[in-house]
């Protein structure tokens, strides 16, 4: 195994609520604007929560061909558009790296749900026929059924012929996919990895299943302020959508070609709580363990962490769980370091959000600015850290911790640092 290989981010592509592209994304975050609103993608009347964080996304305007638009679910479209933006941003030209040395690692929690549901409604006559009619199935229906096709689309976009995978660990899939991409480079199985995550869950079935467990905010009268992580008045998360994709490169090769390096990913670790599919114990024990391990692998101490990008979904149990985890893993440092949740602005896009948050971390390092937690007016007394309310903050940032937590008990932590001269 090759142990001295390091992984840097040299290209970023983001499709997020409030604006397409990395630039629009960062402007939204630093302005502290929220992109949550009443759902327009489907008729949400009759739902408990009718709020979403939607992307104003026109696939044709983003350069997808009619064939690509037809065969790809919305989530796959996000992924491909982001991959192309990240590749262009990296300046890596096709042919510069042998295709066999390029890998792909894409995360998604719910895959092509939107396409699957829409096709089912057609084939089952509005759900009335359990025995659906196969004669009317569109040719790409199978591509919707197996989410791995989203990784295929990104591989084709990038011309990748190395290891390709779709990582689907629920709401930590984004961090896990980026971590898996790092792993491919650290272990020498690839030199470049197109890594990130995408989800487009704003469809009736996904909204209904979160309604059923009262996980999403019912604050339908004030959708712009419905995502309120760490706020005493929070009442659930806001379902979002989007994607972020990165060009990850082996650091020496990136430096040789004079690439712009946003940041280095130095540590990544996952733990499971083995407790409950949706419940979290308030002690934050397993997330703290993932944080400790990620810092250990990244050779970073608690005192080095300058910013924590929280999972911050805006459910009571999550906010208390991770606040406890930060204290457990970082001790006193947890009270000194700014912590924020960008879900307050762009909602919770399930598997995608972990990658979008990595983008926020890389850009925070790049600009030395901590994005805020919007809508945080009255802190929950049990959440007693510095959550950077309302306004972005200039702050020296060398090392960032990003965490994710998801259904199934997954807890993931990643440490991202400013590129240090060798």
């Amino acid at each position: 195994m090759v142990n001295d290989r390091r992984v840097v981010i040299t290209g970023i592509g983001v499709t997020a609520p409030g604006g397409i592209g990395t630039k629009a994304f960062w402007e939204l975050l630093t302005a502290g604007r929220t992109a949550t609103r009443n759902i327009t993608l489907f008729d949400a009347s009759g739902f408990r929560s009718r709020i979403g964080a939607e992307c104003d996304f026109d696939p044709a305007a983003e350069g997808l061909s009619p064939q690509e638009i037809r065969r790809m679910d919305r989530a796959a479209q996000f992924g491909v558009v982001c991959a192309r933006e990240a590749l262009a941003d990296s300046g890596l030209e096709e042919g510069a790296v042998p295709p066999e040395r390029i890998g792909v690692s894409i995360g998604s929690a719910v895959g092509c749900t939107m396409g699957l549901e829409q096709e089912y409604v057609v084939l089952s006559d509005g759900g009335r026929r359990w025995l659906v009619d196969p004669a009317y199935a569109v040719q790409h229906l199978y591509g919707y059924m197996v989410p791995s096709t989203m990784a295929c689309e990104v591989a084709w976009a990038a011309g990748a012929e190395g290891p390709v995978s779709l990582i689907s660990t629920g709401c930590t899939a984004g961090l896990d996919a980026v971590g898996n991409g790092c792993q491919l480079i650290w272990t020498g199985r690839a030199d470049v990895v197109i890594a990130g995550a995408t989800d487009a869950p704003l469809s009736p079935i996904t909204a209904a299943c979160f309604d059923a467990i009262k996980a999403t905010s019912p604050n339908n009268d004030d959708p712009a302020h419905a995502s309120r992580p760490f706020d005493a008045d929070r009442d659930g998360f806001v379902l979002g959508e989007g994607a972020a994709v990165f060009v990850l490169e082996e650091r020496e090769a990136a430096r040789r070609r004079g690439a712009h390096i946003y940041a280095e990913i130095v540590g990544f670790a996952g733990r499971s709580n083995a407790y409950h599919m949706t419940g979290l114990k308030p002690d934050g024990r397993e997330m703290a363990e993932a944080i400790r391990q990620a810092m250990h692998l990244g050779r970073v101490d608690a005192a080095d962490i300058d910013y924590i990008n929280a999972h911050g979904s805006g459910t009571k149990q999550n906010d208390r769980h991770e606040t406890a985890a930060f204290k457990r893993a970082l001790g006193r440092r947890a009270y000194e370091v700014p912590v924020s949740s960008i879900k307050s602005m762009i909602g919770h896009s399930l598997g995608a959000i972990g990658a979008i948050e990595v983008a926020a971390c890389a850009l925070a390092i790049e600009h030395q600015v901590v994005p805020p937690t919007a809508n945080l007016h009255t802190r929950d007394p049990e959440c007693d850290l510095d959550y950077v309310p309302l306004t972005a903050r200039e702050h020296p940032i060398d090392s960032v911790l990003s965490v994710g937590s998801g259904f199934g008990g997954f807890q993931t932590a990643m440490v991202i640092v400013r590129d240090r001269a060798a």
């Binding site: 409604v121 989410p147 011309g159 995978s165 792993q183 996952g270 409950h276 363990e289 259904f407």
Partner: protein, 406 residues
């Protein structure tokens, strides 16, 4: 490399056998689990044969409170995982919690559960969707449930690469073992034999429309005309070799000696698919020459063009008729995320018993598919090293080399 990944436990839920020994006995005898679809009336479907795990009753194997919370694919996965741990004689309570992990593959998640909930939503309204849809349908359900049931708190994972996923999951399991995890449950199971699941599979254009279960899935044969879908799969317990020896694990089936994954060139490029390269990289990773492999468990798509590609790749790596090749999945159908896991189990059992299971049904090899395909009856052979090959829809290729341990 001081830390080596060995397999110490196997659990099987297959259409032709529930439990490892039942599966293996049926497979060696050439007994198929393919038959007419019974789960629903397939009369209106162009596909009427499948590999159902028909003797499986969830209530006999899955804790009752979990049954309504989970789809069939998770019932099968939970069952196989529990059997694999039993087989390994591994009591999770005796292992450090953070040094156990679960990494499974999923191809399509809880399709039948999802179909039922979407039906309720669209015919009755959003408030009729049940609370368990959020945890039963998604691809991470099986890993999450296994982790909770057995208290495994290490670095858990879920990989989707259609039929190749279970090899990637096993590769990830090996990586975890190398970096300090002591025990990993890995593998896959899938169960999408509901009307919508079958319809979606049919839309790939790769399913066999044959009505005769014995002739519907004939990889490498002149009569190849698609594959038969199945359900089920296998779970394996992977451990660090030194730890397995130290706890006197009852059996060590073999070592994951080599693994590699590649992806095909863009469609229409006219360039060679990535399968040969995956096989070569897996051999190199194992430090073995092609001549050291005693059997190849083929992907065996059953689609003429894909069979030709695979036969060409096997010939390019091993030479003409250079290695015995087999496809016991002809007796189970293709199990998606479960398929390569079941082949891994079969490869390890072939090593254990010195016997190569047959490929059922194939009578006449198609031109260009002239392989040493083990047919008719199982073939006794010294099997020290086996390669398992798998491909996933869209261009995934993966290969694993397992070797007998001393």
């Amino acid at each position: 490399m001081s830390r080596r990944a060995v397999i110490t436990g196997i659990g099987v839920t297959a259409p032709n056998g529930l439990g490892t020994e039942a599966y293996w006995a049926a497979t060696l005898e050439g007994r198929s689990g393919l038959g007419p679809i019974s789960r629903f009336d397939p009369a209106g479907y162009p596909v009427r044969v499948a590999g159902e795990v028909s003797d499986f009753t969830a209530a006999e194997h899955v804790p009752s409170r979990l049954i309504p919370q989970t789809d069939n694919w998770t019932h099968l996965g939970l069952t196989a995982a529990a059997w694999a741990l039993d087989d390994a004689g591994a009591d999770p309570a005796a292992f450090p919690e953070y040094e156990m992990a679960v990494v499974t593959a999923s191809s399509s998640g809880g399709t039948e559960f999802g179909q039922r909930e979407i039906e309720r939503l669209w015919t009755k309204g959003p408030s009729w969707v049940g609370a368990y849809q959020s945890i039963a349908w998604f691809y991470a359900a099986t890993t999450g449930q296994i982790s909770i049931r057995h208290g495994m708190r290490g670095s858990c994972g879920v990989v989707c690469a259609e039929q190749a996923g279970a090899l990637d999951a096993a590769g990830q399991a090996r990586q975890l073992i190398r970096t300090g995890t002591r025990l990993v449950v890995t593998g896959g199971a899938d169960a999408s034999l509901c009307p919508y699941g079958l319809t979606a599979q049919y839309s790939s254009g790769r399913l066999s429309q044959g009505d005769d279960p014995g002739r519907a899935y004939l990889p490498f044969d002149v009569g190849a005309a698609g594959y038969v879908p199945g359900e089920g799969g296998a779970m394996l317990v992977v451990e660090n070799a030194a730890d397995a020896h130290a706890r006197s694990a009852p059996v060590i089936y073999g070592e994951i000696a080599g693994y590699a994954a590649t992806f095909d060139p863009r469609p229409g490029s006219g360039r060679e698919p990535g399968l040969r390269r995956a096989m070569e990289l897996a051999l190199a990773d194992a430090g073995l020459a092609a001549g050291g492999v005693d059997v190849v468990f083929a992907d065996a798509a059953g689609v003429p063009e894909l069979d030709l590609q695979e036969a060409a790749a096997i010939r390019a790596v091993f030479g003409p008729a250079g290695v015995p090749v087999t496809a016991p999945k002809t007796m189970t159908g293709r199990l998606y995320a479960g398929g390569a896991a079941l082949d891994l189990a079969g490869a390890l059992l072939a090593i254990r018993d010195g016997v190569i299971p047959p490929t059922a049904g194939v009578t006449e090899l198609a031109p260009g598919c002239d392989l040493d395909l083990v047919r008719g009856a199982a073939r006794e052979a010294r099997v020290g090293t086996a390669m398992v090959v798998a491909r996933g829809y869209g261009g995934f290729n993966a290969a694993i080399v397992v070797t007998k341990t001393d």
